[in-house]
Assembly symmetry: C2
Homo-oligomer: 116 residues x 2
DNA sequence: TCGTTATATAATACATTGTTTATATAATGA
DNA sequence: TCATTATATAAACAATGTATTATATAACGA
């Protein structure tokens, strides 16, 4: 299983997510990806390398082309981690609900946007 | 819904994921979080700000403390995006399976680790 | 009110990342 | 074999992000 550092780091970049979204529509070569994204080919190649290293995409060789596609089990490991959070949320939420209600600080969570 | 850029960027950092994992065990104050992670308090504060801005955690005020906890719907928006990938994978995988099989390039994906 | 505790902010040093241009490599077709 | 197409790599650099120390602020307890 690919490591989470690489996976999330890869997904953290909007360009790479856009690339994945594009690949969700089907296989695409590097040039095909470079066009809609208004970036140079080397830039896309670099992003693809990041995605590949993270195990999010797979590449095959077809002549001089290297069509990319989404990696089947990429999402799985990410899901696993998120499942941990999900589970914790389910548990903590209820628990805290009581705690918070009991101290009058209920929905009053005091979240400061950025303050000053 | 929080934006994905912020969410994934926040999750991309191992320290922040560790903090979330810690928070999965229950609420914790800044100092409580700072201890196990062997970092200075300001560093943790900064990470918490990132997590809060990304909508991944909530903070409430309790005296001089500011206990943090996981945000209930944080995972949701991330899941939505991943669902898109998941769906695409389900669709593309089958489709490509045929394509690949039909051109002898099957499992031969040629993924270069880092080459040289 | 004063010292302490809990946390945030500022200034700064440093590492990482993303982009570009230029160039290399590798397969294709004439 | 030569020009072309598709992609990768290198070098350079700007932009970001992260960690640290020093300092500010705010609530608490004596």
């Amino acid at each position: 299983m690919p490591n989470l550092d690489a996976s999330f780091s890869a997904l953290a970049d909007p360009t790479r997510r856009a690339i994945l979204a594009r690949l969700a529509l089907g296989e695409a070569t590097v040039m095909e990806l470079a066009q809609p994204f208004e970036m140079t080919q080397p830039a896309v190649s670099r992003h693809l390398k990041v995605l590949a290293d993270a195990g999010l995409i797979l590449r095959r060789v077809e002549g001089t082309k290297r069509p990319c596609r989404l990696a089947p089990d990429a999402v799985a490991s990410i899901d696993e981690w998120l499942a941990m959070l999900r589970k914790a949320l389910a548990a903590n939420y209820d628990r805290l609900d009581g705690v918070l209600a009991g101290m009058g600080a209920k929905k009053h969570a005091t979240r400061r946007k950025d303050k000053r």
